[in-house]
């Protein structure tokens, strides 16, 4: 009787090769709700398992949704997706789940988006959202870092981001690379170069956990309130709806209390190793 654990069946309508080992799947599916920025779906790959993947964008087509999921091949199911799931393939979709970025709460604020690597995926809907409701927010700053230029996601969209009025976009890569004239170093270094007034700004961060911790600490130091810095966390997620228990971080369930948390909520837990 696992009604909530039963996926809808969708079809992959397009696959975009983003970067080495990263592909974006556009999946057309009916009967699921419109996702909020920062929410995720659970994708079921028949016979192999489910994976929790953020919605990186979506659109509507004739009453169906086309949800975009940017997937990095790292383990069993995701690697199988890369080798065997292509345009035309059927994929199970459950969701959208979780608490996304609190954009409504921060209308009128300047928005700082900090992403690292695959972490840009759940942040992308923020960019789309701000672009769509441009007048509801102040400045928009995107800081995005990757290991190498080739690892950067959504390269084809950077023009679009830059074209958002009153916005700036800064990139970084980890180590020097031929032809790269942008910043070299940690993306968190870029925080120093941002001239936002912390008192009227909100920060949304997603990337590897160490990067998020550094970013949050830096932002707080710069004057961002701990309740104005939001992180999208990761733990082992199986059910997506808080009944399998494996995603607990302290008393929080990453899947249903998160994945987006204010730094205030999780700072204590993140400070203890292995909690």
């Amino acid at each position: 009787m696992g009604a909530r654990l039963v996926p809808r069946v969708g079809r992959v309508v397009r696959v975009v090769e983003e970067a080495p080992l990263v592909r974006t799947y556009h999946i057309r599916v009916g009967g699921i709700a419109e996702p909020e920025p920062g929410q995720f779906n659970v994708l079921y790959i028949k016979g192999f398992g489910e994976v929790v993947i953020s919605v990186s964008n979506y659109s509507r087509v004739d009453g169906d949704l086309v949800v975009e999921h940017t997937v990095r091949a790292v383990g069993t199911v995701t690697s199988y997706m890369h080798s065997s799931i292509d345009t035309g393939s059927l994929v199970g979709v459950r969701g959208p789940y979780g608490r996304g970025w609190p954009l409504r709460e921060f209308e009128g604020f300047d928005v700082l988006v900090v992403g690292g690597g695959i972490g840009l995926a759940p942040l992308r809907p923020i960019l789309k959202y701000v672009a769509r409701f441009r007048d509801r927010f102040g400045r928009l700053v995107l800081l995005y870092g990757a290991r190498r230029p080739v690892d950067m996601l959504y390269k084809y969209e950077y023009g679009e981001y830059r074209a958002i009025p009153n916005s700036s976009v800064l990139f970084s890569i980890d180590a020097p690379y031929v032809g790269w004239d942008g910043y070299v170093g940690f993306v968190t270094d870029l925080i120093d170069r941002v001239d936002l007034d912390p008192r009227s700004s909100v920060a949304f961060v997603c990337g590897p956990e160490v990067m998020m911790k550094v970013a949050a600490a830096k932002l707080v130091k710069r004057g961002f309130g701990e309740d104005r810095v939001f992180l999208s966390l990761e733990r082992r997620c199986r059910c997506g709806i808080g009944i399998c228990g494996t995603c607990q971080l302290g008393h929080l369930f990453v899947c249903k209390d998160g994945p987006v948390f204010s730094y205030q909520e999780v700072r204590g837990y993140l400070a203890v190793s292995g909690l």
């Binding site: 016979g47 069993t76 080798s83 065997s84």
Partner: protein
């Protein structure tokens, strides 16, 4: 319909795991239809080893020839599966390691000069890179079938590491250690057998191998104290561990 080519390679072992493979394919005609055996000395005559999708390797490496064989298998196989406790840990034959080889041979053979084996008994991963480990003496044929099907479809199995106790409890079997005072290695042994021994009312003797992602040398030593109180000597546990978990034990000792 996708087919995978499979090589079944036997090293030092008893053929038990290969027979589980035979069961795995015999249990489902559909599975059999999707497997092309390209190398299997046990079942067929044609025996040149070419490129294969999957090499199922049973047994541990105890001779020079086996070392060469397994390296050549590795170079030709996309996926190398260490099949069973011998391949994963060394197997019962590893219990002789560290003993005077001549004495060992003399226990079985009148003329030791005719027999040539290496002093070490190595698990597969100490000789070549291993992609999948399926422990068990013998390996569980149903798990093997499950893996094969996933490989045929182009993927693999999500790994879950837990000890035999979890299976025991899920199966509703009452813990023999706690309820009968019977020494049992289940608490430190990889799951996978479905808690077979406890379900027959006896203690686990560890044939799925010591789970070193859970116990370190210190914890193991403390656990052995518990077994000792139940009447199983340290010596006996150690010989069981050497028989079924040799390489894991060696790893623990190396870690200190």
């Amino acid at each position: 319909m996708r087919k995978v080519s499979v090589a079944v390679v036997k090293l030092t072992s008893c053929s038990g795991c290969i027979n589980e493979f035979l069961y795995a394919v015999a249990s489902s005609p559909e599975l059999l239809r999707r497997v092309t055996l390209v190398y299997a000395t046990e079942f067929q005559d044609l025996n040149t080893l070419e490129e294969v999708d999957v090499a199922l390797v049973e047994g541990s490496v105890a001779t020079q020839q086996q070392e060469e064989l397994v390296k050549s298998v590795r170079s030709r196989a996309r996926l190398v599966v260490a099949l069973g406790t011998c391949a994963v840990f060394g197997g019962v034959q590893a219990a002789r390691v560290g003993e005077d080889l001549r004495r060992v041979i003399l226990a079985s053979y009148p003329n030791p000069d005719f027999v040539s084996v290496l002093p070490e008994v190595r698990s597969l991963d100490r000789v070549v890179r291993v992609d999948v480990r399926l422990q068990g003496c013998p390996v569980n044929g149903d798990s093997l079938a499950r893996l094969l099907v996933k490989v045929i479809y182009g993927g693999g199995e999500v790994s879950i590491v837990e000890n035999a106790c979890s299976e025991c409890k899920r199966a509703g079997v009452q813990c023999v250690m706690v309820s009968k005072g019977v020494p049992c290695l289940g608490p430190v042994t990889f799951g996978g057998c479905g808690a077979l021994c406890p379900s027959f009312g006896r203690g686990c003797y560890g044939c799925y191998g010591l789970n070193t992602s859970l116990v370190d040398a210190e914890r193991l030593a403390k656990f052995l104290e518990v077994l000792e109180k139940m009447g199983m000597s340290r010596e006996d546990v150690n010989s069981l561990l050497k028989s079924f978990s040799y390489s894991a034990l060696a790893r623990l000792q190396a870690r200190g």
